[in-house]
Amino acid sequence: MSRTSLPRPRRVLPVVAVAAATALTLAGCSSSSGGKKSADSAADASVGKASTPRMTIAMVTHAPSGDTFWDTIRKGAEAAAAKDNVKLIYSNDETAADQANLVQNAIDQKVDGIAVTLAKPDAMKAVVAKAEQAGIPVVGFNAGLGEWKKQGLLSFFGQDEAVSGQALGTKLNSTGVKHTLCVIQAQGDVNLEQRCAGVKKTFSGKTDILYVNGTDMPSVKSTISAKLTQDKSIDEVVTLGAPFALTAVQSLSDAGSKAKVATFDLNASLISAIEKGTIQFAVDQQPYLQGYLAVDSLWLYKTNGNYSGGGEAPVLTGPAFVDKANVDAVAEFAAKGTR
């Protein structure tokens, strides 16, 4: 052992001691309830993998980053890609022009198939035609129920936002409420506006729209309370995303309102709220299914020439309602963030 290495153990020792002490202290701070340990259940079922040649599929959406709903779509797409031996290129941009650029980017990469959302169909028209000219099969999903056929897409998987809004409005009619408040978390967002417009169309009572600042939860909470105080006749709050529904429940108690809460989309906490009865029901357009089917259909088309709906009819993925009666069947999957 050389001299220079001698001082080392002395320096290491205190570090080890501190680390050990920290570890011990932290161990003493373990939570006895909740947390990951109690949530860890059976791992995802392992699936087989197709032996077809590796192909590349691009999925281009108009999703904002970090949105739970779109994250579920992406998970569905990834599951299908893993099964079908597909390399999935996922990209998203809220701006129509930028979304079109992303499709162009996929064409330039010479992908084997493109799955695209047509939230702003006119802006996508030219680039979709370009993809078709280049011989790349294109399927639509989520948004564009009225447009996909005109643009020559192979298939369409989804549930138009307006249609799911209308379904929710119809469901509300059966519960006997009179005055609905539809809470939009991003003013001017086409899909969100369509959902509320759909509710307004079929709901027989009065429908009001409230805009909240979706990036700031405390202000969402106080703005909904403010509205409930301002108009005491509101007996139903409809939110357009699961986290906002849970916040609305807090607003109700702040404002002393007796209104009920219904929402679009699911997540794990929302499921337990439905079980507890604090939230009436959720309308689910099965985003996982949309992502999964979009990728899987392109694989089928490439390997066996099939296309769902025969280019004529869309494949509807919803609306599916989740309420107290069927919540148990969904709970397990929502906890994993896939339903």
Binding site: L26, C29, S30, S31, S32, S33, G34, G35, K36, K37, S38, A39, P64, S65, G66, D67, T68, D71, Q187, D208, I209, L210, Y211, N213, G214, T215, D216, M217, P218, S219, K221, S222, T223, S225, A226, K227, T229, Q230, D231, P243, L246, T247, Q250, D254, A255, G256, N267, A268, S269, S272, K336, G337
Partner: protein, 358 residues
């Protein structure tokens, strides 16, 4: 250096004679005028005008519970506006303040959940992370000499991406898991997100913290050496350094104060909503800066107060909720908000100009 800091001499003599009798330049101006010249008074009048306006046009505002709601909304802006204002007096911006709130909440939530720890472990680590982000901002600033606008724009984008990517990596989702059943949650909720009863009205605890922090910030600014340093580094960095003010220390610590504020509001969000969405917080930094500027803090630094941003945040909360209480067409919401804020700021400006001109 700053008029807001100068102690007002007690007025013992009768009001100064009018300009007809003497040369007005040398006379003591009346107390009312001198008060009006203070930036806090301008914003106070602006806030009072907005308040009176909604009191008349929106009947639900007259209710105690509505007032508590407005104060709550203001407090969540106001707690962050305070350190942002101090930083602005010290001559710097922090564009990362909005997403830093979410970074802090995500850290606490994911750490306690993933390691199944008492939530206090997460809370303390989140504090260290927040202070660390503030330190990084300040350290980069003093080391590179680049404008804080650029540096914090960088950290803003970095944090925005890290929030999303790390959450996805750790939880597999874009939102954190519910921690409300974990040990220590109820205790932490009492501190960060509880409410108490005042004459039948539920008041949120953040309102109390807001006022406590404002009082501390005012005391620090007006009565301590550190307060002097803040004004000095914001006024003229070189001359401040020449007279022995530790410029680097002051700037870095101001950024760390913003980190502290972000931690506090982050913890409030976590313990009132149980989960955090990784994409939130974007755009909030501008609201904090707006509250500070409406509150009379100069964008160029060197002048301002801690009490002004309190009124600035109140004005913002009042307008934001008042529009809803008034039941106006929601399509115009953002436009109303802008017009009201601009109007209130103009009142503020006009009052202080009118008062200083005479």
């Amino acid at each position: 250096m700053s008029m807001t800091r100068q102690a007002e001499p007690a007025v013992t003599s009768p009001p100064a004679p009018g300009p007809h009798e003497t040369d007005g330049r040398t006379t003591e101006r009346p107390l009312a005028i001198r008060l009006l010249a203070r930036p806090e008074i301008g914003v106070f009048l602006g806030a009072a005008a907005v308040f009176a306006f909604f009191l008349i046009t929106a009947p639900p505002v007259r209710d105690g519970a509505s007032m508590a709601n407005i104060l709550y909304s203001s407090s969540t802006i106001g707690i962050m506006a305070l350190p942002v204002a101090l930083l602005m007096i010290g001559g710097e911006f922090d564009l990362s303040a909005g997403v830093a709130v979410i970074t802090s909440a995500l850290t606490a939530s994911m750490l306690s959940y993933q390691l199944t720890m008492n939530v206090w472990v997460g809370v303390i680590v989140a504090l260290l992370v927040s202070l660390g982000v503030g330190f990084l901002n300040g350290w980069l600033l003093v080391k590179t000499g680049l404008p804080s606008f650029l540096i914090t724009l960088g950290t803003f984008l970095i944090l925005q991406g890290v929030n999303l990517a790390v959450t996805k990596l750790v939880t597999g989702n874009v939102a954190t898991d519910d921690i409300s059943t974990m040990d220590g949650f109820d205790q932490a909720k009492k501190i960060f997100a509880s409410s108490f009863d005042v004459g039948g009205v539920e008041v949120k605890i953040t309102v109390v913290w807001w006022l406590v922090f404002a009082a501390i910030a005012t005391w620090v600014l007006l009565r301590t050496k550190y307060g002097n340093w803040i004004f000095a580094v914001g006024g003229n960095k070189e001359s401040a350094r020449a007279v022995g003010v530790p410029v680097n220390f002051t700037k870095i610590s101001l950024f760390m104060l913003v980190g502290f504020g972000a931690w506090f509001i982050g913890m409030h969000q976590l313990f009132s909503f149980n989960t955090v969405q990784s994409g939130e917080g974007v755009g909030q930094e501008l609201i904090y800066i707006a509250a500070a500027v409406i509150g009379g803090c100069l964008l160029t630094g060197g002048a301002g107060s801690a009490i002004g941003p309190v009124f600035g945040a109140f004005m913002f909360g009042m307008v934001q909720q008042g529009i809803v209480y008034a039941g106006w067409n929601p399509d115009w919401f953002k436009a109303f908000l802008g017009v009201m804020l601009l109007g209130a700021t103009l009142i503020n400006l006009w009052v202080s100009r009118a008062a200083t001109r005479r």
